[in-house]
Amino acid sequence: MNKIVSLLCGIIFGIGLVISEMINPEKVLGFLNIFRDWDPSLAFVMIGALIVSTPIFHLFKNKNKPVFSSNFSIPTNKQIDKKLIIGSVLFGSGWGLIGLCPGPAITSIALLNMSSAIFVISMFIGFYLASKVN
């Protein structure tokens, strides 16, 4: 059953990225272009997501187990360290350079766009290199 949930949640997430237009790098770069012509839409995407996910998380986090799995798996790392900051700086610079982050990049594979395919392949190389460093 959790396989169907995984597929379904991916589909819902992907449709959310399409409707909010976050799949379009121009829209994301418009949000980051705060000092000139600013498009605040991305902030509304975050607000929309958080008003659903935040109460649900806190309502269910102390339950015994999730519906289709034996236990909850919640990140436990609380460390504010160099890796967190350097990683976020590197991610932010790549994000600002192109306007794609992992979710929209992978979702945009559906559109058979050559540029986003090159981005996704490079991103997976980055994942692999980071796994060797970590």
Binding site: L7, G16, I19, A49, S69, N113, I118, G126
Partner: protein, 139 residues
């Protein structure tokens, strides 16, 4: 600063769906969604491999199903050069794994949990993203 191209209704609607996906995945499967984690684990870890794979397939099916139902075309525009795409993609891949999260993992799932780590990560990548756009706009 001028406000341009602002689409609050579609942004909020899409955001609610993304939040619903995060909430369902947590209640039903017990995990918090972070797409960089899901994608890189597919590459480097055997844990939850089929779930991770199916989630990413779902992401890719999303635009196709949307197109089928609504009949609307989805247009994106990427004007970056080949070399910038390679640099940008590598930075996003490497950076998100070094900091263990991206816009979804830190920005949505982490902030939902009130994780200080994720709040700091989100503020950092947003500020650096803004500065990057500022600098590339000047160059």
């Amino acid at each position: 600063m001028n406000i341009v191209n602002f689409t609050p209704i579609s942004a909020l609607t899409g955001g609610l769906l993304i939040g619903l996906s995060v909430a369902l995945f947590f209640i039903l499967n017990g995990r918090m969604i972070g797409i960089s984690g899901i994608a890189s684990n597919l590459l480097v870890s055997k844990n939850n491999r089929i779930d991770n794979f199916l989630f990413l397939i779902g992401l890719i099916l999303g635009p196709l199903i949307y197109n089928l139902i609504s009949g609307k075309e989805i247009n994106i525009s990427i004007s970056s050069s080949l070399i910038l795409l390679i640099i940008g993609g590598s930075l996003v891949g490497f950076g998100t794994r070094l900091s263990s999260g991206c816009t979804s993992g830190h920005g949505i799932s982490g902030i939902s949990r009130f994780s200080l780590r994720s709040i700091i990560a989100t503020i950092t990548f947003m500020i650096v993203g803004i500065l990057t756009v500022l600098v590339t706009g000047i160059l």
